[in-house]
């Protein structure tokens, strides 16, 4: 696999100066997510690869912190750290007016809340934000509910691998002088084959969105401003 974004287990051990024993122990303690392990056949036999930036960063974190915390607690500590970073981002995103109160309301997040946002909530907020110009209120609610439920069922791990996008669609039904429009939210691959009567309102690249959130989190210094949610024509004819 000569993809720069991935690194083999051997290289990880060598670069970070750790042992197989440590790596397997950390995996057992939930410090390295199962989803990061990708098995590939190479000319020397089966090998395990990891997303390079993620694994190196995580191991640095573990090495740095394992002196201060028992290994069993470290998983909690690391997730808390990630959450703390998220909160920083949350405040910054708010200042940048990346979302407004209506978005928070749609995502049922208390705007005065002190608890940090989870990565799932952040993704919901980001997606709803991006769609808020093109979509109607009830569609935003549908988007939020769809994401919220599916994210609880392990969607997060699949986003990157399956390059998932969230599509917002509308279809008009008419007959007998009455016409109605229904909205659909679909999470699937980029290219959907739809019947010709379905209108695409907008779609969001979930992987791209996640990356953007993480990039923003990694970039703790002020100034790494995320770009504004892109403007789109509103297709709101009735």
């Amino acid at each position: 696999m000569d993809d720069d974004r991935y690194i083999s287990k051997k290289e990880v051990l060598e670069q970070m100066g750790i042992s197989y024993g440590q790596l397997y122990r950390w995996k057992r303690k939930g410090l390295i997510p199962e989803a990061w392990f990708t098995r590939r056949s190479t000319f020397t036999g089966q090998e395990t690869f990891f997303p390079r930036d993620k694994i190196l960063e995580r191991i640095r974190q573990i090495k740095e912190m394992k002196g201060d915390h028992p290994l069993d607690d470290l998983a909690d500590v690391i997730t808390q750290q990630v959450n703390a970073k998220l909160q920083v981002a949350f405040e910054r995103l708010r200042r940048l007016q990346w979302f407004d109160d209506s978005v928070l309301e749609t995502c049922s997040i208390d705007r005065e809340r002190s608890k940090p946002l989870t990565i799932k909530e952040t993704l919901c907020v980001a997606v709803v934000s991006q769609l808020r110009k093109a979509a109607r209120a009830e569609e935003l609610d549908l988007v939020h509910r769809t994401l919220h439920e599916r994210l609880d069922e392990g969607l997060l791990d699949r986003i990157g691998e399956e390059r998932l996008r969230l599509h917002l669609l509308r279809k008009r039904l008419s007959g007998g002088g009455i016409s109605a429009e229904i909205s659909l939210v679909v999470i699937g691959p980029e290219k959907l084959i739809l019947d010709p009567e379905i209108e695409r309102v907008e779609d969001v690249d979930l992987g791209h969105m996640l990356e953007r959130i993480k990039l923003d989190l990694a970039n703790e210094a002020e100034g790494g401003s995320p770009d504004e949610a892109p403007e789109r024509e509103t297709e709101d004819e009735r």
Binding site: K10, Y20, G21, K27, R28, G45
Partner: protein, 246 residues
């Protein structure tokens, strides 16, 4: 329902509803409907828990079936146990047969019978002298395998991995018979695709790839590729296809 904890004992054929108990003992053909929480759960007949079981100590000496997850500090099995979920057992000692549909998460595992897991097996220390079949990853800080029957794990990883002849040869005839019965013809060997560790000693092992810091390939091994970073020793009665210092 009151919250008072009760003890229950089923001696004939009976049913027990789930709930919170101190001691539960099933010595006939008993069934627990629903989830159960107890300090001690003892099955010496044919017992079945239809839901999740959580106890400090679980003992199975007859046949025990669990419909859901099993959580315990200590579990001893000398009969046959089947778990249709995950087993989270800190200390697991099995001299009978132990089948888990999903993974086993443990600290100390000792198997002298037969163990099967549909998922991974994780522990700090694992010792086996019987047979096993693990569909996922077998991972522990220290792994000691004395094949006493057919042993298979899709992948094996840990700090110290030690596989040596022994197993059933050192045990009584009765257990030997049991192990052979469960594990087939009595070929005592270990098979795996990838074995990775810091210190590895292997005997009677068939694997595609062995990767380690210090590696000893002992008698009876057939390994396609060995990658090592510090030291490699190969016994004359071992076959190694390719070796590479990395």
């Amino acid at each position: 329902m009151n919250d008072d904890k009760r003890s229950a004992s089923l001696a004939g054929a009976g049913k027990l509803s789930g709930g919170d108990y101190t001691r539960v003992s099933i010595s006939g053909a008993g069934k627990v409907t629903g989830d159960i929480k107890a300090e001690a759960l003892r099955i010496s007949g044919a017992g079945k828990v239809e839901g999740r079981a959580e106890a400090i100590q679980i003992t199975v000496s007859g046949s025990g079936a669990f419909g859901g997850e099993v959580v315990a500090d200590e579990m001893r099995v000398s009969g046959a146990t089947r778990i249709d979920g995950m087993a989270r057992v800190k200390e697991l000692k099995c001299s009978g047969s132990y089948r888990v549909r999903e993974s086993i998460v443990s600290e100390y595992v000792k198997v002298s019978g037969v163990l099967r897991a549909g998922g991974d097996v994780e522990a700090d220390l694992l010792k086996t002298s019987g047979g096993f079949e693990i569909e996922g990853l077998l991972s522990a800080d220290k792994i000691e395998i004395r094949p006493g029957g057919r042993c298979y794990a899709k992948e094996i990883g840990g700090a110290k991995i030690d596989v040596r002849r022994g197993g059933y040869r050192e045990r009584g005839i009765l257990l030997d018979g049991l192990v052979r019965m469960f594990s087939g013809k009595g070929t005592a060997e270990l098979r795996s695709t990838v074995i990775e560790g810091d210190e590895i000693h292997l005997e009677d092992t068939i694997a595609d790839v062995v990767r380690g810091t210090r590696v000893e390939i002992g008698p009876g091994c057939r390994i396609k590729t060995v990658e090592y970073s510090e030291e490699l020793q190969i016994h004359p009665n071992a076959e190694v296809g390719k070796q590479q210092k990395v």
